[in-house]
């Protein structure tokens, strides 16, 4: 059986394989490292880091929906200083590329965060979260405003030489327009998708089930939507795409690559099966071997529309 080349290039970033762990779904890698060997994973994307620590929203923060979940964590995180001091050293030990996801409520804050991390050699790339649906400032105000997405990209680009990935909101009419804006301003790649805005009410109390009222929908329920967004970007914009949304197994990962993803991220599945990433990687490798695929990257965008 021939050896598959699992490397993927995402702009200037080369990863040993296309399986990444999504922001906010593995914290800073600590707990999940008891279940999987981080050395084998393509990259780990940190929980969104903001300049100052954030306590996050009050409970109820999460709930289950049909084949999905709503979350309104509210970007709870330790803040950038503690991240540098405490979290990076741990991750460096594990020999896994770290992509630092950054959230902010002003352009200046994004820039400041990036600048503070620019010389941290443990950080391989930035994923700029312009699309968190669960915070009052920044979040969707940014993610749904194409000019703002362009401007954030431009300013971040001006302040780092590391690869930049813009994480796009799916809560828009044409996500490819946003990918185009990101590309134009120098982004190396886009991640698609973040969660979709959703809500739920308790019919006894008539109160929202989440303290934040609305939350972000993730999990298998959103997979068809995420695939359509990835496909739309792939058809319209020439930029590497990291596919995210409802991936539960290797078949889903392959489907996202066929639809146009250069790499994929696993999110919600980590909560259900923290060993999923290794299983997906094995399944993908076997798929390549069985189908005589020498370069995993050749699957990207290989859809057949006749």
């Amino acid at each position: 059986m021939s050896k598959v080349n699992l490397n993927v290039k995402i702009g200037n970033l080369t990863l040993r394989n296309p399986i990444m762990l999504a922001s906010g779904t593995v914290g800073y890698g600590n707990e999940i490292s008891e279940f999987i060997d981080l050395k084998k994973i393509g990259a780990i994307v940190t929980k969104s880091i903001s300049l100052k620590p954030r306590k996050g929203n009050k409970p109820q923060r999460i709930m289950e929906t049909a084949a999905g979940m709503l979350n309104a964590i509210g970007l709870a995180n330790v803040g950038i200083e503690k991240f540098i001091k405490e979290k990076i050293p741990f991750l460096k030990k594990h020999d896994v590329p770290i992509i630092c996801n950054i959230a902010a409520s002003t352009i200046e804050e994004y820039v400041e965060c990036v600048s503070m991390l620019e010389h941290e050699d443990g950080i391989h790339a930035f994923e700029i979260n312009v699309s968190c649906p669960n915070v009052k400032e920044g979040g969707l105000q940014f993610g749904n405003d194409i000019k703002m997405v362009g401007k954030i990209t431009e300013k971040v680009r001006a302040n780092t030489t590391k690869p930049i990935i813009i994480k796009l909101s799916p809560n828009v009419s044409y996500i490819s327009d946003f990918a185009q804006a990101a590309k134009k301003e120098g982004a190396d790649a886009v991640s698609a998708i973040n969660t979709l805005v959703g809500t739920a009410f308790n019919i006894k109390t008539r109160k929202p089930k989440l303290y934040n009222i609305t939350g972000g929908l993730s999990g298998p329920a959103i997979k068809p939507i995420a695939l359509a967004k990835v496909f739309e970007i792939h058809r319209k914009v020439d930029i590497p795409i990291i596919g995210i949304g409802g991936i539960m197994n290797w078949q889903d990962a392959v489907e996202f690559m066929i639809a146009g993803s250069s790499a994929v991220q696993l999110g919600t599945v980590n909560f259900i099966d923290p060993t999923a990433a290794e299983k997906v990687l094995k399944g993908l490798t076997d798929y390549c071997n069985e189908n005589n695929i020498e370069q995993v990257s050749s699957i990207t965008g290989s859809y057949q529309l006749d």
Binding site: T25, E31, K58, P59, E64, M69, I73, A76, G219
Partner: protein
């Protein structure tokens, strides 16, 4: 913590639709402590999506016990399992009760299915400490006494034992207590735990409570289970990782 397929050895049906699963796992039986829990994936399909948390109810040799009743989708599916079936178990998880402390009398307080962790705690304390158990429920059908010792019962409708809630019963009994150094171990609805927290702190009794909330991961990666720290206004603790058992003084309910 670990993930494994554990085989159900035996299913015991208690009164009032309470199910008791005896499950084989030398690893978990060896490692788990009272108050710790297991997060169980009940179906391979995406409904229910989340695992469901269950306290370890008891341990015997190579087996542990789970106690539950059917609440919704997950517990209904779980109840349909048969001896010989396997369940997908993640654990042991969380921090259990601290029993190495210096105390002579354990006051166990359970509301409804909140009694689940106490057969195991009772087993570990038996012979070493004095044990008094206060068990409450809305009606007598909610009162589960399996595996407990020295039991006083309270029901809100008065259908069994003291008429009123279990904290009122405790309060009544506490007045009579002597100088024996006591520690409270409690699990039940949040309203009960709230009343207990006040009572214990007023009476200066050390009190550990096992809290409950919706969980996705159960081991600290989703941040879905925050509970307010009383030491630091800017800090949430995580029920799954820092708890589910907390000293009542650590948290704000």
């Amino acid at each position: 913590m670990n993930i494994a397929e554990n085989q159900i050895d035996e299913i015991i049906e208690l009164e009032y639709n309470i199910h008791l699963f005896k499950v084989i796992s030398p690893e978990i039986a060896r490692k788990i402590n009272p108050g710790e829990f297991l997060n169980i994936r009940i179906s391979e399909l995406a409904i229910p999506l989340f695992r469901r948390p269950f306290s370890v109810c008891d341990v015997e040799d190579d087996c542990y016990y789970l106690m539950f009743s059917t609440m919704g989708t997950g517990t209904k599916l779980l109840a349909s399992k048969k001896p010989g079936d396997f369940i997908d178990v993640l654990g042991p998880l969380g921090n259990g009760f601290n029993i190495v402390d210096d105390f002579d009398r354990a006051i166990i307080i359970g509301g409804g299915l909140g009694v689940a962790p106490f057969p195991y705690l009772t087993r570990q304390l038996k012979g070493k400490k004095e044990i008094i158990s206060f068990i409450g429920g809305r009606t007598k059908n909610d009162v589960i006494t399996y595996g407990l010792e020295n039991i006083s019962v309270a029901t809100e409708d008065g259908s069994l034992g003291f008429k009123g809630n279990v904290i009122e019963l405790l309060e009544k009994e506490l007045d009579k207590t002597d100088n024996i150094k006591s520690k409270i171990f409690a699990c039940g609805p949040t309203s009960m735990l709230k009343a207990l927290k006040i009572l214990a702190e007023q009476n200066n009794i050390d009190c550990e409570i096992s809290t409950e909330c919706t969980m996705a991961c159960g081991f600290g990666i989703c941040q879905g289970c925050p509970i307010q720290s009383s030491a630091d206004e800017d800090k949430y603790l995580l029920v799954c990782k820092d708890g589910p058992v907390f000293n009542s003084k650590e948290i704000i309910l």
